[in-house]
Amino acid sequence: MPHNNFKTVYISLLVALICLLVPWSGLALKARPDFLLLVVIFWLIRAPNLCNIGTAWLVGLIADLASGGIFGQYALAYTVTAFFGVVYQRRLVLFNHTQQLLYVFILLLISQFTLLILKVFSGAEVWGWSYFLPSFTGILLWRLAVLFGLNTGGRARGT
């Protein structure tokens, strides 16, 4: 059970960053969940006093650095996502696991959609539906984490 302090937040973010830096390739690269964003969303829901939109922006900047793209793309995507996470944070804590999962899925989609818009503006080609694969693997990872006892603040009722 993670304790709510800055050290835990930053260590978990560091672990997520290392997961991101693992040399993925092929299908694994296409389906790789957005580890950093998942950790950010987790802390947004659980401890909004420790991890807020500013943290999300900073983490996005690191994701930009790791991806090698233009600075600010992931930062903007994470900021927008974190905003929608924070706005409904109080309700999210009261959601049951399934509702929470759905909302996390929507958040992941928001992030990917923002990124897609930015990429298309900078001249990238639009892919098919496989572009949104990381959102699906993301909620899969979230669900697994909940199953293995990670307390995301959701109530067990109704699941």
């Binding site: 830096l21 040399p23 650095l65 903007l76």
Partner: protein, 332 residues
């Protein structure tokens, strides 16, 4: 950022339920504006490239940690590879080395002959290019671009703009250099163009990456152009980036639509774009190294005519060279 955290820390002590500092909307506007400013700065101006270099160097230890498991796996499989396989591989390599040596002997005499002929024609001597062996660390994480990250950087005298080749053909070009790594944009990337010529008839063209599938396009050739499927494309060497005569791609499909004056030519790259781990980073000789007497001769003639002449001889040289060194490679 630090200010924000302190601010938040102070609030932690208060039992405030609703007080959370600036409203989420204010934060959203502030950080979005900051991100958009960054995007604009990074895409239009060059200020952030040095910042990025330093930050990537900081990220390097983490990258090493992240690479460790796959590295370990590779080492273990290498260690446990059977002797049988090693012996057969050794045999195969020996035969290959023999073939290559024979080809190299021919190449040596040809290079000598070529330099003599060039001397007689008083054109610029072809300069030998230098190369560094690199290894692909990982595939670029941005799925919209075709990039590879190599384990060689400014510490190994790599500079942006160098060509990257493997045993079978051109892979791409170094576009960004960091202290311990460098970013290679593959020839299939949408933003990369490569000057090519058709091996069969010497026709020059520019091939562009398609981006999505691993193919190249030659867009600006007329519909009645002399290209057949199966034609080999080699680098023309007139751009000063890629050495002449390296295999690039094979023409796979030509479609001429009646409503367009141009043919749609699709090619597949010859090099192992996404499967080879070891690559060669080749640098074209720097212009300053040109011997002084050649510079004088080029100054005597008109600049335009001289350019044309050297271009033509280059093509001849490429046509000479490609037949010999490329073929043994193609049989591999």
């Amino acid at each position: 950022m630090a200010l924000g955290f302190n601010h938040k820390l102070e609030q932690q002590q208060e039992p405030a339920f609703f007080v959370r500092g600036p409203s989420p909307f204010a934060r959203l506007v502030f950080f979005s504006a900051l991100s958009l400013a960054l995007i604009a700065t990074d895409s239009r101006l060059q200020y952030l490239s040095t910042v990025r270099q330093h930050l990537v160097a900081i990220l390097h230890p983490l990258q090493v940690i992240a690479n460790a498991p796959s590295q370990l796996y590779q080492n273990v499989t290498e260690y446990f590879s059977t002797q049988n396989r090693l012996v057969s591989e050794n045999k195969q390599l020996r035969q290959q080395a023999l073939e290559n040596n024979v080809a190299l002997q021919k190449l040596n005499t040809l290079t000598l002959e070529n330099s003599h002929l060039r001397g007689l024609l008083k054109t610029n001597q072809a300069l030998a290019e230098t190369s560094v062996l690199g290894e692909v660390m990982y595939v670029g994480r941005d799925l919209f671009r075709k990039k590879n990250i190599l384990n060689r950087g400014t510490q190994h005298q790599i500079i942006a703009g160098q060509a990257v080749v493997d045993a079978t053909g051109v892979i791409g070009q170094v576009t960004r250099v960091f202290p311990y790594s460098s970013e290679v944009t593959l020839i299939t990337d949408k933003a990369l163009a490569i000057p090519v010529q058709i091996e069969r008839n010497g026709l020059r063209a520019i091939a562009f990456g398609r981006g999505r599938d691993n193919t190249l396009d030659i867009p600006y050739l007329p519909a009645n152009v002399d290209i057949k499927t199966g034609d080999k494309l080699v680098t023309s060497g007139i751009d000063g980036v890629y050495p002449a005569g390296l295999a690039v791609a094979t023409v796979t499909k030509i479609t001429a639509t009646p409503d367009s004056a141009y043919a749609r030519i699709t090619c597949t790259p010859t090099g192992g774009i996404e499967n080879h781990r070891h690559v060669l980073i080749v640098s074209m000789p720097i212009k300053n190294e040109v011997p002084s007497q050649e510079v004088e001769t080029s100054q005597n003639t008109l600049p335009t005519s001289n350019k044309k002449e050297s271009g033509q001889t280059k093509i001849k040289k490429a046509a000479n060279l490609t037949e010999k060194p490329i073929k043994p490679n193609a049989t591999q």
